[in-house]
C-alpha cells in the first residue's frame, strides 16, 4: 500500500509499505478515505519531537472504511464509514473513565505523560499514521465513531482533531458570558478556537498572527477582530491598550512549539533545540491575560522544558489549563453543531493533494505557500 514515509527533518516521500495487520483482538483495519496534515505534524516534520524514527508514517486526522475487525470488536462492522479520533484510548483505565481520552494509560509504552496518538513518533506510542491507504486502529470499540448519514467526509475528517481541539481550547478557557478572549495563532486550530469562543458566550474575540491571508480568513470565518503582530510591534502592550489596560479575560495559545515573533525564543527553541520549542505564544498569553485570568494551552510543546514567565503566573494569580484533546468526549456535541450548521469545518480546507505528492503537501503547509490553511490528502 502507498503511505507517507518520513526520511529525516524536512524530508518525506510516498512509498509502498506492507499492509497493516490485526495485531490485537480489539484492532480494526481501516481503509483511509480522507486524511489531513496537522500543524502539529510539522513539529515531527522539522525533527523537533524526540524519537521520531525514519520510515514511520505520520497522520492522526483521518476517516475511512472498516475493512477488517479483530475477534473482540463489538461496536464496528466491516464496511462502516468511521472518523477516527487522533487519541488511541482503551476506554477502561482511570483516565479514560474520567473522559481524559488523550491521557489513556494503556496505549503508550514509551512515555507516561501522553497517551497513544496515531502517527506521532514513538514518544506517542510508535503507531503508524493515517497518511496512508490503510491503517491499523487499536481499541476499535472506543475511538472510531460511525459517521452520521449525510455528513460530508470533509467535515468528518476535521472532527478527528482540529474542531475538537479548538473547541476544547475555548472550553478550558472557562469562558463566561461577555469575556474578552484572545487567541494566539490563526492556524486551523486557532480559527476553530476563535469560532468556538462565541459558542461559550464570549463578548469579544481577538486573533493574533503574522500571516495576513489567515487573518483575513479568520476575520470573515469567525467574525472576530484580527491583528498582525508584525505591524503592532508589541502584542502584549497592544492587547493591554485595547482592553482598558487590564488584559484579556482568557488567552488561548493555539500555536505551540513553532511560534515566531521572538528572536530569543526562535533561536533557543527552534534552531538550537535548547528548549522544547519556541514558547513565544505562551509567553504572550501569560503576559496579556488579566490578573486572575485563564490561559488555555492547546499548542503542542516538546517534553523537556520552556522559558516562560512563570513568576508572572504566580503574581497575576493565573489559571493555566492544558491537555491533549479528548476528542471522543466532544464528538456528540460537535456532530450536533456541524449538523445544525453552527460549525462549518470544511471551509478550512484550502488544498486537496494526492497522497503520492506528500512531499509537496508538507512543503506547501510548512512554508505557508499558496495561501494554505488546511491541506487534505486524497488517497
Amino acid at each position: 500500500m502507498l503511505a507517507m514515509n518520513y526520511r529525516g527533518p524536512g524530508r518525506v516521500r510516498a512509498s509502498h509499505k506492507p499492509m497493516p495487520e490485526i495485531l490485537h483482538p480489539q484492532d480494526a483495519i481501516v481503509r483511509v478515505t480522507r486524511s489531513c496534515i496537522c500543524g502539529s505534524d510539522l513539529h515531527l516534520y522539522h525533527g523537533n519531537v524526540p524519537d521520531t524514527r525514519v520510515g514511520t508514517t505520520f497522520g492522526h486526522e483521518f476517516t475511512g472504511v472498516v475493512e477488517e475487525i479483530g475477534a473482540e470488536v463489538r461496536n464496528l462492522r466491516v464496511g462502516d464509514q468511521v472518523l477516527v479520533p487522533f487519541n488511541i484510548a482503551c476506554g477502561k483505565c482511570i483516565f479514560c473513565q474520567q473522559g481524559l481520552f488523550g491521557n489513556c494509560h494503556e496505549s503508550n509504552p514509551e512515555a507516561t505523560a501522553v497517551g497513544g496518538i496515531f502517527g506521532y513518533s514513538h514518544t506517542a506510542g510508535g503507531y503508524e499514521g493515517g497518511q496512508a491507504e490503510y491503517v491499523r486502529v487499536p481499541y476499535a470499540d472506543v475511538g472510531p465513531t460511525v459517521i452520521p448519514a449525510g455528513m460530508d467526509l470533509d467535515d468528518a475528517v476535521l472532527l478527528t482533531d482540529v474542531v475538537p481541539t479548538g473547541y476544547q481550547a475555548a472550553e478550558m478557557g472557562g469562558i463566561q458570558v461577555g469575556d474578552t478572549v484572545v487567541v494566539f495563532g490563526a492556524g486551523p486550530v486557532g480559527i476553530m478556537a476563535a469560532k468556538s469562543a462565541w459558542l461559550f458566550g464570549a463578548g469579544r474575540v481577538i486573533v493574533i498572527d503574522q500571516l495576513d491571508y489567515r487573518l483575513e480568513f479568520v476575520k470573515r470565518y469567525a467574525q472576530c477582530e484580527a491583528y498582525n503582530f508584525r505591524s503592532i510591534e508589541d502584542p502584549v502592550l497592544f492587547i493591554k491598550k485595547i482592553t482598558d489596560h487590564l488584559g484579556a479575560d482568557v488567552c488561548i495559545d493555539a500555536v505551540g512549539a513553532e511560534a515566531a515573533g521572538s528572536a530569543m525564543q526562535t533561536i533557543t527553541g527552534r534552531k538550537l533545540l535548547l528548549q522544547a520549542g519556541s514558547a513565544t505564544a505562551l509567553q504572550w498569553s501569560i503576559n496579556s491575560v488579566k490578573k486572575g485570568g485563564v490561559v488555555s494551552i492547546v499548542g503542542v510543546y516538546g517534553p523537556t522544558g520552556n522559558m516562560i514567565p512563570i513568576g508572572n503566573v504566580l503574581n497575576k494569580g493565573l489559571t493555566i489549563r492544558a491537555n491533549q484533546t479528548a476528542v471522543k468526549r466532544h464528538l456528540p456535541r460537535l456532530i450536533e453543531h456541524v449538523q445544525n450548521g453552527v460549525l462549518n469545518p470544511k471551509e478550512l480546507i484550502t488544498h486537496r493533494i494526492p497522497l503520492q505528492d506528500i512531499a509537496d503537501a508538507y512543503r506547501i503547509f510548512s512554508d505557508k505557500l499558496d495561501g494554505c490553511i488546511k491541506p487534505l490528502l486524497i488517497t
Binding site: R53, G126, D357
Partner: protein, 219 residues
C-alpha cells in the same frame, strides 16, 4: 459562628450566587441581542464550568482498579518508559529500534522521562537514524530523491525566490570550500587569475597558517 449565623451566611451566599446568575442572565440577554448574527452564540455557556473539568472524579484508584485488555504479542522487544511497570496492552510497531540509533535509544530508556538525558539521547538517535536512512537510500539507489523529498517541486512552483536564494547561497558555500581545498591547483588551471588567488592568499590567515605548517613539516 453559631447555627443561626451559619444559616444566615448560607442564605447570603445563596443570594449572591443567584444575583450573579441573574446578572449573567441579564448580560446574556443583552449580548444575545447584540450578537444575534453569530449563529449558536452562547449555546454552550456554562456558569458551572469547573476549572478542573473533567477531572471531577477523585475517588481513590490504582493501576489495578480496571480490567486490563489482553496483551498484544511481541511486547518483549518494545522499549518502555521506566516510569511504568510494563508495556501497555497495545503498542505501535512502526519502526523498531535497530542499528546504532537503536543502541542509543535503548540507552535513553534507562533514564526516566524527567531526565534531560533521556530526551537528548533520543534526539541524537534521531539524527543518527537520519544518516542511516540516507545511507540506506544510497544503497537502494534512492539518493536522487533528496530534493523531491524536500518538496522542491512545490517550492519552485510557489516560492521560486527562496529556491534561487538557497541555490545561490549553497553554490557560494560550495565554491568557497572548493576554492580553499584547490587553492594550489587553481592558479595553474587558470593562470590569468593568478593575481586574484595571490590576493586571496595574501589576506588569508588560513592560507598562511597552512603554508607555515607545510614548511615546518618539510623541515
Amino acid at each position: 459562628m453559631n447555627e443561626r449565623e451559619n444559616n444566615e451566611h448560607k442564605i447570603n451566599e445563596s443570594n449572591k450566587k443567584n444575583e450573579n446568575f441573574n446578572n449573567g442572565q441579564a448580560l446574556k440577554e443583552k449580548l444575545g441581542a447584540k450578537l444575534s448574527h453569530i449563529k449558536g452564540w452562547a449555546v454552550d455557556a456554562d456558569p458551572k464550568n469547573d476549572p478542573t473539568y473533567p477531572m471531577r472524579r477523585r475517588e481513590k484508584t490504582s493501576s489495578s482498579s480496571w480490567v486490563r485488555p489482553p496483551q498484544q504479542s511481541g511486547h518483549e522487544h518494545i522499549l518502555h518508559s521506566n516510569e511504568r511497570p510494563d508495556v501497555t496492552r497495545v503498542f505501535g510497531t512502526a519502526a523498531p529500534a535497530k542499528g546504532l540509533s537503536g543502541m542509543i535509544r535503548r540507552c535513553a530508556f534507562k533514564y526516566s522521562e524527567g531526565r534531560f538525558a533521556h530526551w537528548l539521547l533520543l534526539l541524537v538517535a534521531d539524527r543518527v537514524n537520519t544518516v542511516e536512512g540516507f545511507a540506506n537510500d544510497i544503497a537502494h539507489g534512492k539518493s536522487c530523491h533528496y530534493l523531491t523529498d524536500k518538496g522542491i517541486n512545490a517550492q519552485w512552483k510557489y516560492d521560486r525566490k527562496t529556491v534561487v536564494t538557497k541555490a545561490a547561497v549553497g553554490a557560494a558555500v560550495v565554491g568557497l570550500l572548493a576554492g580553499i581545498c584547490l587553492r594550489r591547483h587553481i592558479p595553474n588551471i587558470m593562470p590569468e587569475k593568478r593575481h586574484i588567488w595571490g590576493l586571496l592568499d595574501k589576506h588569508s590567515k588560513l592560507q598562511r597558517f597552512i603554508q607555515d605548517y607545510e614548511r615546518m613539516m618539510r623541515r
